[in-house]
Amino acid sequence: MASYRELLARIREEIEEISAIEARERLESPDPPLFVDVREPDEWEEGHIPGAIYVPRGRLESRIEGLVPDKARPLVVYCASGARSAFATKVLSEMGYTDVVNLAGGIVDWKRNGFEVTIPRVLSPEQRARYSRHLLIPEVGEEGQQRLLDARVLLVGAGGLGSPASLYLAAAGVGTLGIVDGDIVDESNLQRQIVHSTESLGEPKVASAKRTLEALNPDVRVVPFQERLTSENVERILAEGWDVIVDGADNFPTRYLVNDASVWHGIPVVHGSIYRFEGQVTVFDPARGGPCYRCLFPQPPPPELAPSCAEGGVLGVLPGIIGSLQANEALKLILERGEALTGRLLLFDALATTLDEVTVRRDPTCPVCGDSPTITEYVDYVEFCAGPVATER
């Protein structure tokens, strides 16, 4: 039988330890190790080593493989004084982590040396409860939730696609949602536009959506733009600064306008479109090497081949599925997790229930995002989409 002191002394002989000064040098190196803080939540909230991840000692074994899948990654484990983290270091070695050291003297010694600590922004108890299912996912966690709360997403359209997309983004805690839509709520919308309700008939869609979304989540601020997106107002709307655009427009002039503006502003666009029983989803992100809408469709179809849902109809649940996929892509772009749909176009067929995927490549000759762009300012998108094809007929 060993006492605590004997056990600690024995563990320390079996692990490697570094001083605060050496830890700081490693942190400042070009390839710094990952610092793992194993203290209690209240200690973490009082300040931690910059860039550290937080895993309380009691959850270490169960959570660390989710947070650090690469067992060769260099780790520096610390607590307040270096005792709890000595045991944690030993456990991590036993779990197969090959480059793990203990910070001798812990964060107390770190601070005594005058080294920097980060005071984390913390979620309120209400937020902790509301987002608890996000906090449990390693890919989101507290840091990811803060990112979502800080994020700004612009939804083009508060209709079939914008309804589910905005509801899920609001529920997820995306802090600022801009919505551009000049329409009012009509009875024929309610078969699929679930952000609106019978009570909001006749009301501007942006006002109806704002009420629904802010009632769903008081953390969300909805910025309404009760207007149609045009070449004249697009710069003013984009000037407010957006991380992601969710495009749920119903017409080609707006699609091309959103595309050109987003390329010039370097904002990724989560694109969704629907018709009858079929939907398409992809991400356009030329700023990060992906294609744009014009790479996929250089020319809009002639108007007679471009029926809207108002003309052709749409199964009510289809925008629910496609708009939810758009929300999923937007969340991943904000969190910088997973694989975005950049360069891949998903084709969903609700009748057959099939999902196909085709490749979308960046076109180096694209007039907007290509190597030598020929379109560098807004054009008349209505005329562009009416096009020579229509005037020929």
Binding site: G159, G160, D183, T230, S273, Q299, P302, A310, D356
Partner: protein, 98 residues
């Protein structure tokens, strides 16, 4: 024999079918065979004798423009996807005529 996936906005031209069969050694021949049997499709796919730029054709998930275009060889039993652009979504965000 090649299966050709017909998008919803073109199904009226092929009697409502989601997928039809066509024959040919190349993408161009398969599409020619298709429009030969469904002449109404021609006006929807072609402009000035060529496949319109607003219609994408995918073979094995790749846009045939990034392969050999209409000359791309088609193996027996493969699937072509015809894909015109769809706008569908929310009205009231950009139409100027209203």
């Amino acid at each position: 024999m090649t299966r050709v996936r017909i998008p919803p906005m073109l199904r009226a031209e092929v009697g409502g079918a989601r997928e039809v069969e066509a024959h040919g050694e190349t993408v161009g021949e398969v599409i020619e065979d298709l429009v030969g049997r469904y002449p109404a499709l021609r006006a929807q796919l072609y402009r000035d004798g060529d496949l319109g730029e607003f219609v994408n054709v995918y073979l094995g998930g790749e846009d045939v423009r990034t392969l050999e275009g209409l000359d791309t060889p088609v193996r027996d039993g493969s699937t072509l996807i015809l894909l015109p652009a769809m706008a569908g979504g929310s009205p009231g965000v950009g139409r100027h005529e209203a």
